[in-house]
């Protein structure tokens, strides 16, 4: 009963936060709604006894990623409200909503139709893991120990690959935002005659900030 009430409250926070992200005109409000949604997800992780992931969810998603978003919003000064009435591509909005609702309907139909009685939907979708594939959760060991054993044991190659990925991302970010001496292409310059001077003085600041991240 407690579980169900915690689930319902945090699910409501998650959904309302997500709706806040896609409906708010101001990007700063969207970022703050995103934080609410991430916190709801962290609560659900605690409910499922994934304590370490819940911590990481708050620190990495709610902390680092959203702060990075806010940094970029403030740095570029795009925190002014967007006019959501303008719809450059006619029918895009309806088509997008239709695609999203249709996708949700397909997933839910698969979930409820696949299993006998609906309750076994998850198992019926993926099949039960075989004995040698399974890494059974031991309730007496803390989940962080088990996660570490799995990460540095079976998944150590994937773990190394993520280290490489992070290095590439850092180098890529530095290369992308560093001061470029090349002339702006004519087609782009034509668009940007008005705002060229206020963007060029931000350049060094941008580069420094991205290196920190």
């Amino acid at each position: 009963m407690v579980d169900a009430s915690v689930f319902i409250v945090s699910a409501a926070i998650i959904i309302l936060g997500a709706l806040g992200v896609i409906l708010s005109k101001n990007p700063v409000r969207a970022a703050l709604s995103l934080v609410a949604s991430f916190f709801g997800v962290a609560v659900l992780f605690v409910l499922q006894e994934a304590h370490f992931l819940s911590l990481v969810q708050v620190v990495v998603y709610g902390g680092a990623i959203v702060v990075l978003f806010l940094f970029v919003i403030m740095l570029l000064g795009v925190d002014k409200a967007e006019n959501l009435r303008i719809e450059p591509l006619v029918g895009q909005r309806y088509a997008g909503v239709l695609a999203g609702v249709g996708f949700c309907a397909i997933i839910c139909a698969g979930l409820f139709l696949s299993g006998p009685g609906g309750e076994d939907g998850a198992v019926a979708l993926t099949g039960t893991p075989t004995q040698e594939q399974a890494r059974i959760i031991d309730a007496t060991t803390p989940d962080i120990n088990q996660l570490a054993t799995d990460l540095f044991g079976r998944n150590v190659l994937a773990f190394e690959a993520t280290a490489l990925l992070l290095t590439i991302a850092t180098v890529g970010a530095v290369v992308l935002v560093k001061n470029q001496k090349k002339p702006v292409p004519a087609s782009v310059a034509a668009h940007s005659a008005a705002d060229s001077e206020n963007s060029s003085e931000n350049t060094e600041l941008d580069a420094e900030n991205e290196v920190d991240e």
Binding site: D3, A4, I15, L19, V21, I22, P27, A30, A31, L34, S37, V41, F45, Q48, L53, Q57, V60, Y61, I65, L68, F69, V72, L76, V78, E82, P88, G96, F103, I107, C108, L111, E119, G121, A122, V123, T126, A134, R135, I136, I137, D143, L147, D150, N155, A158, L165, L166, A169, G172, A173, L176, V184, S187, V188, H191, A194, N198, S199, N202, E213
Partner: protein
């Protein structure tokens, strides 16, 4: 009333769809990135739910990797946005059409 994994999977599907709608409808590149984060979080919810359903830690490891990829994606994506905004102050994702040859 017991919370089964089906509850989590339905929530995950709804959250993913909201992110998908946002990605298709919004044109501010920053908000579009936030919608991608929502979709990744929806997948994380279902990974942890499967981990609980099968009593198997592999689902939680998958969440860890998703987290790393999300961080890398945001870093590169936001530096692309910074670059785009240098050329035009009020850029929308449509302005990336300057990339066509």
């Amino acid at each position: 009333m017991e919370v089964t994994e089906t509850w989590y999977l339905v929530l995950s599907a709804v959250l993913f769809s909201i992110g998908l709608i946002g990605l298709l409808v919004r044109r501010n590149p920053l908000v579009m990135f936030m919608c991608v984060e929502l979709m990744l979080n929806a997948v994380n919810i279902s990974f942890v739910a499967f981990s609980g359903a099968f009593n198997d830690i592999a689902g939680q490891s998958a969440v860890f990797f998703v987290l790393v990829v999300a961080a890398a994606e945001v870093v590169v994506g936001l530096s692309l946005v910074v670059m785009l905004m240098r050329y035009r102050a009020s850029a929308t994702i449509d302005d990336l059409s300057v990339l066509k040859g």
